[in-house]
Symmetry: C2
Subunit: 465 residues, 2 copies
């Protein structure tokens, strides 16, 4: 039995089916909402009108799972309890009645839920999370009902993407962010570039402001009160993050770790539970750079983790190695990407580091369509090991994070990276790709630091023996 | 003294100057042509009208080198002889007179020259190489003089880029390629995709045809005779490759290796010569995958090698680690990239391998502007080590080669690559990036091959002990 019919759960189900036939393994998936295997990441683009929806966002419908994979799907069915001793899941069926369903193996893929603000007025109509396709249906209806003003709370991925969606719908949008700069998944110096670009797009960015309450009128939200006043609005989108949806698992005594996410082994088995597996937004991942468990709720990990669990459930062997926290987003023409540690992460772990930030172009400077790109690298002192990278730029900028993510994954130093054989032709890069320029500058910083402060290293200073 | 005023030579000169002041190190660069530090890779785009030229293609003029770097540049001055014992270079000056100039350290950065065909009529006017900015001036003049038809001989990078340039100039263009498919820097199955796309752009592609002679009229080329007939034309562009311009070095007894390129150590010093350095198209590189010396005349290597030589000349320490043969190109909307070994390279070295080719899209399938991308991976049998990768696709496809190049550089297996944390968001990739899908398919092929043919490995077959 699979609880949760989106990316992780259905990837697990499909992979298990590839290895075990229906007469060998019966598979049923329970889904609280009305859709399976959909791209939650596509919701902002559907609301913004870039893509059709909701059907276009569904990779495989329940009918396809039933017909082509012999996987049963029960929509609008919620798991309300887990009895691990009896291997039973308690369900609330679409008609509201209760049911118990037994399993031999269980996959928990319950995902995450948007963090909601425990503030006056927070339950008013017109305040939306953006997590499920059903959420998307609700926001889109509000937009189409004629909203003229929107407030997005939180300047992370969902926040900036929803801000773009509202701009595309000609809705006046205000982004409220508690941190000094939006996009707190970047260092503040890079987040500043995002704020400046968003402001240039006509988005009102109120960063460094805390939301105190929601103003309401007839039970609907009419304004957002911050420490600096009230922003009147027709709707509010919450983009302040998500938390693992693990209440059910916790009640059953399963082990929770970082941020309340389920703890699993490298194959995706829940720690201490023989026949319970978990994948996706509801589980911890291992951060290969910080060497600590982290909660990184992204669709790409959900798919990989689901596949790993499915292979193992199907009798094969696969592991999920971990993450380096790569992520990419855009707000209108501005592309934003990161991998590895931010400065504050590196400091918290105890690393000493140097940074290098370079401005360059995505193509040869003389080539039409060359766009600005700012690349920042964080490298460990002395060793020069790459610890993290961030990119802010226009078209063609962000996907360069992948080469940096692979370098990071392999523990390369910035000096080693200066030699990397990256592709060059004038329509694709300057002759020194921005990644290489940044590596050069970072390597020079590491070397200069050693020269300037030799006593900070392990070697005794010359002559101090 | 630096012989050759383009990328490698001037990068060496600039880096040496950064470390040693003019009163400590006098630097003079000899350049046969009329320009310094120009982007030869930009010439096709200048001829095609995408970029201005020739000045826009010059990164730094002789005046800038003189004024800002105290580097003397002597244009239209050709080195005609090297006397290594006396540390003198024999020069032919712009007025045709001879001169000898002494040096303490010499940097040979003489680049490469287009391979010319030793065929009847090959000396006719209207047959052009495309190697120097002066070549570009000549081709552009021929185009502007009203050429209506062009033949490009050779379907490599320069060939396909020049074909695009002619298309952009509304010139009827025929590409003649001796190999079965154009773009012989790809495997034929990927080259076929290039041929089909070029044909769709209105380019006549005659692959598998050998040029036998040039037809001439009044000393000008008027046609290209192949094994299958005559193609009438107003001009011919040679894109059949380049060879290292090392006659001078060979005459002086310096050691030549692959393809007649100069042999250098990791710091760029010519083997056996204490005070002679070399960089760029005239030197060998080490191929990190095949573990053999290769000749890879690309601007990106020329810049890196020149920088390394300059640092060493300036009293520092730097090495050029080698190449993995990454390259990228485009012809109109079609993007083409490769890294590592082709199938024929892998076979020649003795590798046994498996391939996986996947069709996907550059963005989420439902996202506007999602473009087709075909990714091919070559992986060693048993170990699954990535040996090479090729990409053919439309906008957003080719730069993905960089992540593959970094994986290759680090010796990753395709199984390891399935876990890579590459960036995902619908405007940038499908939830499984094409790179990851290809890695999955290749890893499955490696595993299936082991299962199907366990005796082919090192382990004795079960039960055969």
């Amino acid at each position: 039995m699979v609880i949760g019919g989106d990316a992780a759960g259905m990837a697990a189900a499909s992979q298990a089916r590839r290895r075990r036939a229906p007469d060998d393994l019966e598979i049923v998936a329970i889904e609280r909402g009305g859709y399976t295997s959909y791209s939650a990441c596509g919701i902002p683009y559907w609301i913004g009108g870039d893509v059709e929806g909701p059907d276009a966002l569904v990779a495989r419908t329940p009918e396809v799972f039933e017909r082509d994979f012999s996987i049963g799907v029960r929509l609008h069915t919620e798991a309300t309890g887990l009895d691990l001793d009896r291997c039973e899941v308690h369900l609330r069926t679409p008609d509201g009645s209760s049911e118990k369903l037994g399993y031999d193996s269980l996959v928990i893929a319950t995902g995450s839920v948007p963090v909601r603000l425990d503030l006056p007025g927070a339950d008013a109509a017109g305040i939306f999370g953006v997590q499920t396709l059903d959420d998307g249906v609700a926001v889109r209806a509000a937009v189409q009902a004629g909203a003229r003003r929107a407030v997005v709370i939180g300047g992370g991925y969902i926040g900036v993407e929803m801000a773009e969606a509202m701009v595309n719908r000609n809705i006046d949008v205000t982004l409220v962010e508690q941190a000094p700069e939006p996009m707190a998944t970047l260092d503040p110096d890079m987040g500043r570039l995002v704020r400046e670009a968003m402001t240039g797009m006509g988005i009102t960015v109120r960063s460094g402001e805390q939301v105190l309450a929601f103003e309401t009128s007839d039970g609907r939200v009419s304004g957002v009160r911050t420490g600096r006043g009230v922003v009147e609005t027709d709707l509010v989108v919450l983009g302040i993050g998500v938390r693992p949806n693990t209440g059910l698992a916790a009640d059953a005594g399963l082990p929770l770790g970082v941020a309340g996410a389920l703890r699993v082994d490298v194959r995706g088995r829940v720690l201490g539970a023989e026949n319970v597996w978990a994948a996706g937004d509801c589980v911890e991942s291992f951060d290969l750079v910080s060497r600590r468990p982290v909660h990184v709720p992204l669709g790409t990990h959900a798919n990989k983790q689901g596949r790993v669990v499915g292979i193992n459930l199907g009798g094969g062997y696969a592991t999920f190695p971990g993450v380096v926290r790569t992520a990419v987003s855009k707000v209108c023409a501005l592309e934003i990407a990161r991998t590895g540690l931010l400065e504050r992460d590196a400091s918290a772990i105890g690393y000493r580091f140097l940074t290098a930030t370079v401005k360059s172009t995505t193509r040869a400077g003389y080539f039409p369509g060359a766009q600005p790109i700012v690349t920042k690298l964080i490298a460990e002192k002395r060793s020069g090991r790459l610890l993290g990278a961030q990119i802010v730029g226009n078209e063609g900028a962000a996907k360069r994070i992948d080469a940096l993510a692979v370098a990071l994954w392999n523990g390369m130093s910035v000096e080693q990276m200066t030699g990397l054989d990256l592709s060059y032709a004038p329509p694709f890069a300057p002759v020194w790709d921005p990644v290489l320029i940044a590596a050069r500058k970072a390597a020079e910083a590491v070397e200069a630091d050693l020269v300037a402060d030799p006593g900070a290293g392990q070697a005794p200073s010359p002559g101090t023996e």
